[in-house]
Each structure stands twice: as C-alpha cells, then as structure tokens.
C-alpha cells in the first residue's frame, strides 16, 4: 500500500509499505522530475558547438586543431551532466534488520549502501550551514563513526518530506511504534 505522494517544486515524495514476503519493507522515495531546463541547456550547448564548427569551416581557420578540442569538451560536459543526473533517492527500512540507502541515476547506475539496524545510534534532522545558504538534512549517527552519514546524498528535499522519513527511521531504530513527535521536533545541534 502507498500513501498519497507529497510534491514540491523540485521533488516528489512517495511512501510505500510492502507487506508481502518474509518481512515488511518500508520504502521512501524522493523523485526528481525530468528537468526541462537541463535538457534545454544540453541542446543549446550542442547548437552553439554546431554554429562554431560551421563558422570554422566557412572561415577556413585552423579547424583541424580547434574542432577536436571543442567537441571533446562538449562530449565530456554532456557525459558528466547525464551521468550525474539523478532520477530518485530511496530509503528502504527493514525493521530489525537494517536500512538501505539507494541513489538511482538516469544512466541506469544505482548506488546502494546497507546499514545494519544495530549500527544506527540515532537519525537526526540537521541544519547545514554553508557560506551562502542554510538547509535541512537528514543524517544518521552511527556507532563508532565520527562522521555523520547523509541519508540523501545528493538531493536536498524540503523539511516535511524529511520529517516523514525521520519518523519512520526513529520508529525502526527505537522499536517503538507509538513514537509521535508532531512538529516539536528534537533539534540536535551538529556534533561537528
């Protein structure tokens, strides 16, 4: 069964509970819709390259030297954009077993990381401050690990989506099904 998805301007949140099989798996997905602006950027840079090539051919400049470098740069940029383009990030919670963090790229590549439930000390909502901005992130404090582990490595979903995932993680870690924090969230300061 799944709950009604929550949508924001950039992300869509889907919560699935799969009760079939040996164990119930609680999945939380943050989807990134295909960005029109990204495609526009890709095609417009391709057009610019084509125009440059044409001007070189007509102007009879040293296109033999310039053309390969330009096209190489374009290919590298396009490949980087495509490979790093994220389709969705998922959190699969298997109670009493562990948590699996997944990042699905549009190229088909999937990055997975499994964390056993006993290793998680606490899931925490953290405010990250950078020189230009401040945003919420969901992190896991792991036993024996000095660094915090980001649940969503690449994406920065809004707070209401993070709170749903955080509550589910708290329930799984504490083993307490009656955890209900409402919005009096437990803000923990960064330990860094």
């Amino acid at each position: 069964m799944s709950e009604k998805p929550i949508s924001s301007r950039k992300y869509t949140y889907i919560h699935d509970e799969d009760d079939t099989g040996f164990q119930s798996i609680d999945s939380h997905h943050i989807m990134v819709p295909k960005s029109r602006s990204r495609q526009f950027l890709l095609y417009s840079s391709f057009l610019v390259l084509m125009a440059h090539v044409c001007s070189l051919l007509l102007g009879k400049e040293e296109w033999r030297i310039v053309f390969p470098w330009n096209s190489l740069t374009f290919v590298i940029l396009a490949a980087a954009l495509h490979l790093r383009s994220i389709e969705k990030e998922s959190v699969l919670i298997m109670p009493t077993f562990g948590v699996q963090l997944e990042t699905h790229y549009r190229s088909g590549r999937i990055c997975r990381r499994f964390i056993p439930i006993s290793k998680i000390l606490k899931p925490v909502l953290n405010e990250c401050v950078t020189p230009t901005t401040c945003y919420w992130s969901l992190v896991l404090i792991l036993r024996g690990d000095k660094e915090l582990t980001l649940v969503f490595q690449e994406l920065q979903p809004p707070l209401e989506m993070l709170v749903s995932v955080w509550k589910a993680l708290c329930t799984a870690v504490d083993g307490d099904t009656t955890t209900d924090c409402g919005m009096e969230v437990d803000f923990r300061a960064s330990i860094l």
Partner: protein
C-alpha cells in the same frame, strides 16, 4: 488623529508584540570579552522576557553550523573565516545570501548589530536595511578622530548609521562620541549602560585583614589599557607605602615592561604577576584584594570596575571616557592619567578603606545594575524601531548621498548594487523556497534540563 498620537498607538501595540531578534557580531563565544558577555547576557534576559533571539557570528576554528546554548539561544556559526583581529573578510556583498536565508527562515522582525569594529555587523545591517527590516546598532567602544585608521572607520560607521532605525550606546560619553563620528541625530541614540552578573561576583566570605593592603590590577597589558602608567605608578606606591602589595593579572605586549620594572626595583615579593586569567577565575583573583586599580587611557564604559565594585573592592581609576558615569562617587577615586595624580589617588583610597563595607557595596551594585533592566530597556528600543515608518529606497538613498562629496556617491552606488543583487537573489532562490524553521517549544527545553543533555557546553 495627530502624528504623535498615531506613533504612541503604534508603540503601545508594539509593546504587546513578541520580537524575533537577530543579533549580529563578529565577537561571540567561544571568545571572552566585553562585547561577547554583553551579547550573551542580553540574549538570555530577552529570552526570559519571551522574545526569540538568534545570534549570527563567524566560525571559530572547527565550530561551524548551528549550535544551541542555554535557554534555547540559537547561534549560527557561519563558515566565513576571520581574517584580521577576529573580523570576517569584508566582501561587501558576499554575506548577502546567507544573511537573507537566515532572516527569512527565522522570521526575524528586528536586526541588532554590535560593535563598530565588526565587518559582519556592518554588512548584515546593510543587507537587512535593503530588504526592509528594522535595524538597531549598539556601539561598545570609543574611537578617535585624528589618525588614518579612525577616519576610515568613522566613514564606514557613517555609512551604516545613515539608515539605522535606532542606536544604543553604553554611556553618555560614548553617545557623544558616536553622534560626532557618525553624524547621527542624537534623538535616535539611546543610552543603555552595561551591567554585571551579581550572582557571579560576590565579595569574599571573610573580610581581609588590613595589615597588608592588596591592590589588584586585571586587564590586558596593552597601551590602550595604560600599562605604561602602571610601570611608573607601582614603584612609587611601593616606596611610599611599605605595607602595600600588588597582584597583576593579564597578559599582553607590555608585560615585558612590567617584568623589567619588577626586576629593576627588586619588587618580586611585592608585585605578583599571574599571567592571563580566564574569566571564570577573575572573581577569585579580585577577592584577594582591597583596592582595584584601572589605568585605562580610553574606556566607553569599563565593566571591569563594575565587577570589582560588585566584589566589594574600592576602585581607583583614570578619569577617561565613560568611567565617571559607572560608579557612585563615594566608592571610586578618580585621577588624571598621569603618574603623580594616580599615586595621590591611591593614597586617598588607602585612607578611605576603613569606611568601606564590601557586602553593602555589593548589594548596592546589585540594585543599580542588572541585565534584566538592560533587556527591558532594549525591548523599548526595539518597540521604537518597529514603530518607525517604512521609507522607500529613494528617500534612504538621499540620506546616503549627504554623507560626503565622493563618499555619498560611492555609498549610493553600493546600496543600489545591493538592491539589484537582492532582486537577483529573489529570482535565483525565491523566498517561498526558503523553509521557515518551526519554533522549539521553550517549555520542553526547560523540562528536559539538566543542561548537559540538551544544550551545548561551551
């Protein structure tokens, strides 16, 4: 209704309002000092009055990000590294994105900057004014007018204070100094003195015997604090009064001179040098003495003599800056910053000692100065600031234009660019995309104390 009646009504309504204050300064914990203590105590008392306070400062070493201090005081340690004397690198527009983000997500109503020497304060106040927030500025120090550094500093201050809603100074002398340096109309400047934490500075349980008079000096040993005067005064006093001993706490470039004086006059057993004294140990050093000696060459307020008086010490000080305004005349002996005058003042203080009762002095200081009083008065300043009318950009630019022939045009250009940058930021990161922070219920924080669990230990 008349203008003044409307203003009064607005003030009355503002009085019932809860403020959400952003304190900005380069000087905050984990550093210790006058400005840092002022910020902390004022924030705590404002929190107790029911307002929300957020502090913004730069990162200290690895201490970056959001920290919570006692009472739910939220501190943003923004990862801009300090570059000179604890000040953030002045980039004029560099801090705009983070300041805007903090102002929107914390739903701030008034921005309060501290200390004219703080670059982060000036930048944050400028950005806050461009965005239309109400702004208050507190000046903690006196500055000169003559040297090159002071001239530039004063011009920067003039720029910031051209458009500030209200200003606060810590003494009448400081108010005069600020008004002259910045050209701010005096009606906009409030005088709210600093205070002292009387619970921390209590006199000794047993009174010291007066067979040997102990004079305590605790200050940074730098030129500004009159360390050179001490070098002249101490040998003379030791010669005139054989039963007097000195305890000197503090460190600095002039320490070498004091050590030399000690050696030259063979005063090793009569002058004790303690080195740097951490703030928590200041009281334990003060209660070892009968008299507190302050030889500063310039002071806007001088909290040190207030702390000494709270511990029951009789004060001898130079008559500079705002010092005469701090203590009642019967518990302070003032002198000109000249060695002979200071020696005579110390003699007078020694003769006055039998009449001093430390506990009576402490109770008197407790009733005269309290941080709660400072917070209540600051609250009134915030109410006044919020009742100021909103002005459009052109009216404000005309005030900047009046700052000088070249400076006026430069300031107008800076503010116009800032205004354009603001709209660019609105396009890049619209304010509706910046999530507002939910308020932590302060009752839940108080219930879950002990302090070691929920709050950040310094």
């Amino acid at each position: 209704m008349e203008q003044w009646q409307q203003t009064l009504m607005k003030i009355a309504m503002a009085v019932q309002r809860r403020h959400r204050v952003l304190m900005v300064s380069d000087f905050f914990y984990p550093n210790f000092g006058g400005v840092e203590n002022h910020l902390y105590y004022l924030s705590q008392c404002l929190l107790e009055l029911g307002h929300k306070v957020v502090v913004m400062t730069h990162a200290y070493g690895t201490r970056t990000g959001v920290r919570y201090m006692t009472g739910g005081l939220k501190v943003y340690y923004v990862p801009w590294k300090p570059f000179l004397m604890q000040n953030t690198l002045p980039t004029i527009y560099g801090t705009f994105p983070i300041v805007r983000t903090i102002l929107i997500r914390e739903k701030i109503s008034v921005v309060h900057g501290h200390q004219a020497f703080s670059t982060l304060c000036h930048e944050a106040l400028m950005h806050a004014r461009i965005m239309g927030y109400k702004v208050v500025f507190t000046d903690h120090s006196l500055y000169g007018f003559a040297d090159v550094g002071s001239i530039h500093m004063n011009k920067v201050l003039q720029f910031t204070l051209s458009d500030v809603n209200q200003a606060i100074c810590v003494s009448h002398t400081s108010k005069e100094n600020t008004v002259l340096r910045s050209g701010l109309p005096p009606e906009k400047v409030f005088m709210i003195p600093n205070a002292v934490d009387a619970a921390m500075f209590k006199p000794a349980e047993t009174r010291l015997s007066r067979e040997e008079i102990v004079i305590v000096v605790i200050s940074r040993l730098v030129y500004r604090k009159g360390a050179d005067l001490l070098v002249e005064v101490i040998p003379e006093v030791c010669r005139l009064y054989p039963n007097v001993r000195f305890i000197i706490g503090g460190d600095g470039p002039k320490r070498v001179r004091l050590e030399e004086m000690r050696e030259k006059n063979s005063l090793q057993d009569r002058v004790e040098m303690l080195g740097a004294v951490p703030h928590v140990q200041v009281r334990s050093v003060l209660i070892r003495g009968h008299i507190f000696l302050n030889s500063s060459l310039t002071e806007a307020f001088c909290i040190a003599i207030l702390e000494a008086a709270c511990c029951g010490l009789l004060t001898v000080s130079t008559r500079v800056g705002g010092v005469p305004e701090v203590l009642p005349e019967d518990i302070i002996v003032l002198a000109e910053p000249v060695p002979n005058d200071m020696v005579q003042a110390i003699g007078k203080a020694i003769r006055l000692l039998p009449k001093i009762d430390p506990q009576v002095m402490h109770d008197r200081m407790k009733s005269l100065y309290s941080w709660h009083d400072v917070a209540r008065r600051t609250e009134l300043v915030y109410d006044c600031a919020l009742s100021c009318s909103d002005e459009n950009l052109l009216v404000r630019l005309s005030r900047y234009f009046a700052c000088g022939v070249w400076a006026g045009k430069l300031f107008c250009l800076v503010m116009t660019l800032d205004y354009l940058l603001w709209h660019l930021l609105e396009l890049w990161q619209p304010s509706k995309d910046i999530e507002e922070v939910p308020d932590i219920a302060s009752e839940s924080l108080h219930e879950e104390m002990p302090w070691s669990v929920e709050t950040e230990a310094i």
